[in-house]
């Protein structure tokens, strides 16, 4: 349990100042750190009991049993016996930093005009000083993919770390992928005055796919030619064909997934990812065969129909994982930014309903890193990777035990304070002082 006093001291040490709106980014790592005695959750499905995790100059220098390391070689040794160490959690397909307050239009930068705008880049609008962003860190979310929303092709995402002065500092993989919203074969008829709306077969389904197909084949033709005059939207998708960028496809239905997998294949798109994937389990074999990973929607949502298993969204990770699909976890949905801090508990929910606990950890560490293409330097506790990790008092996937005394991004020990902890302290201080 967190003791207020300890937190107060820790905060004072780390940030030095209170009362400013945002947390000051931590300085570059100068002293090496070794965390000892904890259960290390590597992020690849395995754990090391009584571990040691060492890092220096922002990189992990040791990750293994405590018996295999010389503690004296590190400037600072943190005894974390009885505690847990995790790689920093990664929020995929988030809109962190793109909107501050939902109801305030002026604070909304998550979508733009046009249906096919891959050239629109989320990274330039990412607000590294968002109060919502800093609220994620105390729960272990240290990296996020920031993706645009809306339209058919909404734009280009980037991956950021969550302790930065500006968006350039924040970016750990710029322009990692293009985000496509695949049309739905069923469509809402809208609200009626006399009752609930209905979903009926979408008569324009093929036509809408046709728009995407026309755009992609147009881009291919353009890219194979002199590229002059320059076409910004076509230019923006060049990475899809050379494999340097991924196509993230928001798609849920069985039929639609099958359609989009065929679409990607026939159009020479090298890497595609299913985002959402509510019915992906029904076409799991197709996905495995084509090496298509799935970033599942957060399970804290209602089943898609009243006939479904009451727990249906909770069961999906296990169902897909059992069939050999590479599974991650994404954030889109209602109140997605403020709920990003609940990412660990989404993974925990999958664990409660059958998924192995370490596989659940893997969803938001190693797997999300692989899917986002940042696994060379992030996602697991392995030597040579970024020291983006945290210590938790207990199981970090359970809100009952997720309690984080230290967190590091690229070796920098970050503040775990926020606008919210400051208000907490201010008002507890008021009451304790009898004011």
């Amino acid at each position: 349990m967190l003791k207020l006093k300890n937190i107060l001291c820790g905060a004072a040490l780390l940030t030095g100042t209170w009362g400013i709106a945002q947390q000051t980014p931590a300085p570059r790592q100068t002293a090496s750190v070794l965390i000892t005695g904890a259960v290390a959750h590597i992020g690849n499905g395995s754990t090391i009991n009584n571990s040691a995790i060492g890092f220096k100059d922002g990189k992990i220098t040791y990750a293994g049993p405590l018996s295999g390391v010389t503690t004296g070689a590190y400037d600072r040794v943190i005894d974390a016996s009885g505690k847990h160490v995790y790689p920093g959690f990664i929020a995929a397909n988030s809109t962190l930093g793109l909107v501050e307050v939902d109801a305030v239009r002026a604070s909304n930068d998550q979508s733009d005009t046009g249906d096919l705008i891959p050239h629109v880049r989320s990274i330039v609008a990412y607000n590294s000083e968002s109060k919502v962003v800093e609220s994620c860190r105390p729960n272990g979310i240290l990296m996020a993919q920031v993706a645009p929303r809306g339209g058919l092709i909404s734009g280009t995402s980037s991956v950021v770390q969550l302790d930065a002065w500006n968006w350039e500092d924040a970016a750990i993989k710029t322009d990692d992928g293009i985000h496509l919203h695949w049309p739905s074969a069923f469509r809402s008829k809208g609200w009626g005055f006399s009752g609930p709306s209905e979903f009926v077969p979408n008569k324009d389904y093929e036509k809408e796919i046709g728009e995407i197909r026309t755009f992609i084949s147009g881009a291919k033709t353009y890219l194979s030619g002199p590229k002059s005059p320059e076409n910004l939207p076509y230019q923006a998708v060049s990475g899809l064909f050379d494999g340097s960028q991924k196509l993230y496809v928001n798609v849920d239905g069985e039929k639609e997934i099958a359609d989009v997998v065929r679409f990607a294949k026939t159009n020479g798109i090298r890497h595609m990812v299913v985002v959402g994937g509510n019915e992906a389990w029904k076409v799991a074999d197709l996905l495995v065969e084509n090496d298509v990973p799935v970033i599942l929607s957060r399970p804290h949502r209602l089943p898609s129909g009243e006939d479904d298993n009451v727990k249906q969204p909770y069961l999906l990770a296990k169902m897909l994982s059992d069939k050999g699909v590479l599974v991650g976890l994404e954030m889109s949905g209602a109140m997605e930014r403020m709920n990003t801090r609940n990412l660990p508990f989404y993974a925990g929910t999958f664990a409660a309903y059958g998924l192995d606990k370490e596989k659940a950890v893997q969803l938001i560490t190693g797997n999300n890193a692989r899917i986002l293409g940042i696994d060379a330097f992030a996602g697991t506790l392995e030597t040579g990777k970024d020291a983006t990790l945290f210590i938790s008092e207990g199981d970090a996937l359970d809100m009952r035990t997720n309690s984080i005394p230290h967190a590091y991004i690229q070796g920098r020990e970050i503040s775990l304070e926020s606008h919210q902890t400051q208000l907490w302290k201010r008002y507890m201080g008021k009451y304790e002082a009898g004011q």
């Binding site: 005055f193 609930p196 209905e198 979903f199 298993n309 907490w424 009451y431």
Partner: protein, 991 residues
């Protein structure tokens, strides 16, 4: 009825002069009178559905029945029509028709600010109340439509303008096509019509919800009473009409079984008798429908099967919708079997042509023919208080049908429909059946002519030797006209015409292509044989799916029963001072928690091994919007008159989903569209029971208030800027105004002087008198403080602040004020400007200052895991686990004034308990069993079994629908009915 090619519809005008108005001048001829009789002999006459005369005579004169009986003396100057082998029935009556009246045009919904006041002057304050409207004034006889109705067998319709909440009077019209307007109108004010749906002709905002419509109807009745007593200073032509029409039958268009019950509830409150037009789904809660004591009007429209041949599309159709297709034709039979009187209506039927098909379908589903006939004749007549229609007794209108045989026989033919003694011929009953094979001699050649198909429109097949010759035949009024081109057409067409004297042999004149004439004869060589080409219309009666409670996925075939249960060796979270007890037994008996202790004896109770598991009281959600048909009455800035209890939707799947998360009681709060919202419904989640049985007995009275951005319409768009208040300053003044008025109202009421009964003021007076408690949606500290100061001026405290996101800033003030409860979200923020300072430490801070804190959901998804939300108060701010658990059990029970009944595991309390697989605050905890008053409404294993059953039943129904399609039945495209999920600010008009 068999499908017929162009149906004859002739009206015989021969003898109508007897109706000519005696004092009207006549300039187009001489005045004549005719008092002759018409006698129909040798028919099977249904005087009423139960009084049947075999081989009887019906005698009519001047549009009325003179006599019907076995021995009727037929006067000498009678026209006698021999109906040997034919049947006579009274013509049908539809008492819920829109025949000949047009709905007003919909008001444009362009961009404009909402309209709060009525457009009509001199009438009621709400445009949707129009008892002064008379369908008579809007009525114009629609001959084309009348033709269709006559063909379906209808002779009389009661027609109304289906628009508005009170729709005014209907007019009872006979469908005779002789343009005798004065005779046709049997009653110019036959009934008064009502509904829950607003008029399309007015943009007046109120009501925006179903419960608002209900409240409006109630207030209208009270106002009419007040007006009748001569208390009002103004004239109100609407209320005058309402009072004048009190004695008329009151027909309420409800449209679904749930709305039937809602209409019946209002009727009961005001001692009225409504005739309720249902939705065709009454069979789903037949016990409750019977208990209303009302008579019903049932639609004969049944849903078409879904085209489920594409498995992907089929997967979107819900079990409930598939069952509706399978079960709905049994609705009339279900009412009949339960002795509930009902009339049938064409309303809701896509095409009048489908009437007979659907009527027969209802009979195939078990509706007795007599009941079916009554529902079309004597019952609708009786409902309108008419004894002279719907039967063929002496003195009744001569409205009757002549059929070839039993009306319910698919093959039977409706020959004639007489209305007011006027004859309308549908099929010539004297037609000579020339179907069969003939030897045709014409133009010197011998042909073989075979005629098949319908007797009224036979199809020819002509051969000369082995050669087939194309030919066309018309057969009308006894005239036979055939043409074809002999000898490959080199001499043009040969035309044959002649009057058929006897079907055995007939003939006439031929005309060749060159104009020369000759003669022809046709001699029958073989009779007509029915072909077996009826496979397409083969009757398909699927096995009927069992009704469950509710009638959808996870409904119970039989309601679960209360059990006596002993939980052995559980970790018991008592939510009491006793704390958390390890290895403890809990005995549940007769719906109560009987004993808590170690090594208890079962004494016949079922024993559940709970070792390693956790037993807690059921979770109570102080702030829920599930299980409701609508949430916001946004039409006024105060809606204290509306009742959430009116709109409980006991069939909402979210009840079951909440049980799966251990929730047993919820407060359904009105939304936050206005500073003064509606009255709460506090219910137990007794899945399967009807709405009325979910409500707590002697429920504490609550009302929703709201502050901040929602009530000042900050996020409603730029046009929503005309309603007061638009600022937090205005919000205070709304309260001051209403409370002051309520105080004055209460004083006047208590003085014994006459007062206008006002539901809104009654409710607010209850608050001032501390009989009703406020649960106030609240965000920022200034407004929280403001409301406390307002209520202090009226000497009562705010019971609950809900949401209360900045409660942590004024926790000391709330404590001093005497707030009973602070019910908050665990970690929601940043969705509106006013939640910038919302922090997850709120619950912990308020708790630390001695407030009674609860964690609520306001959300159908989150409410299924309130245990986890409670756990967040441990994480954010360090509340102890024991106290955290109380925040979803005993604490909300206390703020709802229900802590003596629920909220903890204590001997004598209701056995509303949950068995968890793990520590209940853990993400890994799964609710295994959820009981309410000892009834196991949810069980994790049972749920999985039910899911398997659902999959199986879906397959059965899908196969049935494919078979139906295969047999030529009409299908519709698959659709998925969306679920409605409400939050505070959901603004939907749900019916």
């Amino acid at each position: 009825m068999r499908k017929r090619l162009p149906v004859l519809l002739l009206v015989f005008l021969c003898s109508f002069t007897f109706y000519a108005q005696e004092y009207f001048p006549k300039n187009d001829g001489v005045k004549t009178t005719d008092h002759h009789y018409t006698a129909f002999t040798n028919a099977k006459i249904y005087v009423t559905p139960t009084q049947i005369i075999d081989n009887g005579t019906l005698l009519i004169q001047r549009g009325k029945v003179i006599a019907a009986g076995r021995k009727v003396s037929v006067p000498a100057h009678s026209l006698v029509i021999d109906l040997q082998g034919k049947h006579i029935y009274p013509s049908f009556i539809d008492i819920h028709s829109e025949f000949g009246v047009k709905k007003p045009a919909r008001q444009g919904r362009g961009r404009r600010s909402p309209q709060y006041d009525a457009s009509r002057k001199g009438f009621y304050w709400n445009d949707h109340i129009m008892p002064d409207k008379n369908a008579f004034d809007a009525f114009a006889f629609d001959s084309n439509e009348a033709k269709k109705l006559l063909q379906a067998g209808f002779g009389t319709v009661n027609t109304h303008v289906a628009d508005g909440i009170v729709r005014g009077t209907s007019v009872l019209v006979a469908l005779d096509s002789t343009d005798r307007y004065d005779m046709r109108i049997l009653d110019e004010k036959a009934a008064q019509h009502l509904s829950f749906v607003k008029s399309v002709a007015s943009a007046q905002n109120y009501p925006t919800s179903l419960m608002g419509a209900m409240a409006l109807i109630r207030q209208m009745y009270k106002d009419a009473e007040w007006y009748a007593g001569g208390h009002a200073e103004n004239r109100d032509f609407a209320l005058e009409a309402l009072n004048a029409h009190k004695g008329l039958p009151q027909i309420f268009d409800a449209g679904s079984y749930q709305n039937d019950l809602r209409a019946a509830k209002i009727a009961k409150e005001f001692g009225l008798t409504y005739i309720i037009k249902g939705g065709g789904d009454e069979y789903q809660r037949i016990r409750e429908i019977k208990a209303t004591g009302a008579s019903y009007i049932l639609p004969l429209g049944f849903p078409d099967a879904y085209d489920v041949t594409d498995p992907y599309q089929a997967s979107k159709v819900s079990l409930a919708d598939m069952r509706l297709w399978n079960q709905a034709p049994g609705n009339p039979a279900a009412l009949a079997k339960n002795g509930i009187p009902f009339a049938l209506t064409l309303s809701g039927l896509e095409k009048t042509d489908n009437f007979k098909t659907n009527l027969i379908r209802a009979v195939d589903y078990g509706l007795e023919k007599t009941k079916a006939l009554e529902a079309l004749t004597t019952i609708p007549a009786g409902l309108l208080g008419k004894s002279d229609i719907g039967n063929l007794k002496t003195g009744s209108y001569a409205n009757f049908l002549i059929t070839s045989g039993d009306l319910f026989d698919k093959e039977s033919i409706l020959y004639e429909n007489w209305v007011l003694g006027a004859r309308h011929i549908m099929e010539d009953m004297d037609i000579k059946d020339i179907r069969g094979t003939y030897t045709l001699n014409a133009g010197g050649t011998t042909y073989t002519l075979t005629m098949t198909g319908e007797a009224a429109s036979p199809k020819p097949e002509l051969t000369a030797g082995t050669e087939k010759i194309g030919s066309k035949l018309t057969y009308q009024n006894g005239w036979f006209n055939l043409f074809f081109a002999p000898d490959s057409g080199k001499d043009g067409f040969l035309r044959l015409s002649g009057l058929v004297a006897t079907p055995e042999k007939f003939g006439g004149k031929t005309v060749r292509g060159n104009g020369t004439e000759g003669s022809w004869t046709a001699t029958r060589t073989a009779g007509h044989k029915e072909s077996k080409d009826t496979a397409k219309e083969e009757k398909f009666l699927p096995e009927t799916a069992a009704v469950t409670y509710p009638n959808k996925a996870y409904g119970f075939p039989e309601l679960p029963k209360q059990e006596n249960i002993l939980f052995k060796n559980a970790t018991v979270w008592t939510s009491e001072d006793a704390g958390i007890l390890e290895n403890t037994d809990v005995l549940i008996k007769n719906g109560k928690i009987a004993r808590i202790g170690k090594d208890l004896s079962a004494g016949g109770a079922r024993v559940i091994d709970a070792a390693g598991k956790h037993l807690t009281a059921g979770i109570i959600d102080e702030h829920s919007h599930i299980a409701a048909a609508s949430i916001n009455e946004a039409g006024h800035n105060s809606s204290a008159e509306v009742l959430m209890e009116d709109v409980i939707d006991a069939d909402d799947i979210n009840i079951y989903r909440n049980l799966s998360g251990g929730v047993t009681s919820i407060q359904i709060l009105h939304g936050s569209a206005n500073p003064i919202g509606g009255r709460s419904a506090i219910i137990k989640l007794k899945w399967g029971l009807p709405a009325a049985e979910l409500i707590y007995k002697n429920s504490p009275k609550f009302i929703k208030f709201a502050l901040g951005e929602n009530v000042k319409q900050s996020n409603w768009g730029d046009l929503q800027t005309v309603r007061f208040p638009q600022s937090r300053m205005g919000v205070e003044q709304v309260y001051m105004d209403y409370f002051q008025r309520a105080k004055e109202y209460d004083a006047l009421k208590k003085s014994g002087k006459p007062y206008r009964f006002d539901y809104e003021m009654e409710t607010l007076a209850e608050i001032i008198n501390k009989e009703r408690f406020i649960s106030c949606h609240s965000y920022v500290q200034s407004e929280i403080n403001m409301l406390m100061k307002v209520t202090e001026r009226f000497d009562f405290p705010v019971n609950t602040f809900t949401h209360i996101l900045e409660g942590y800033k004024v926790a000391d003030k709330m404590k001093a004020h005497g707030v009973v409860g602070a019910s908050t979200f665990s970690d929601w923020w940043a969705y509106k400007f006013e939640v910038n300072d919302a922090i997850p430490y709120n619950a912990a801070i308020m708790h630390s200052q001695g407030l009674n804190v609860a964690i609520n959901s306001d959300d159908a998804e989150m409410s299924r895991r309130l245990n986890q939300e409670a756990a967040k108060t441990v994480k954010y701010g360090g509340v102890s686990e024991e106290e955290a658990w109380k925040m979803v059990t005993i604490n909300p029970a206390r703020m709802l004034h229900l802590d003596h009944r629920v909220g903890s595991i204590k001997e004598g309390k209701d056995a509303d308990v949950v068995l968890w697989s793990d520590h209940p605050l853990s993400i890994y905890a799964i609710a295994e069993k959820t009981l309410i008053e000892g009834v196991p409404y949810y069980d994790y294993e049972t749920m999985k079994q039910m899911q398997a059953n659902i999959a199986q039943e879906r397959n059965t129904l899908i196969n049935q629908m494919i078979e139906a399609k295969n047999k030529g039945m009409k299908t519709q495209a698959p659709k998925k009915t969306d679920e409605k999920h409400f939050h505070c600010d959901t603004e939907v008009y749900g019916i």
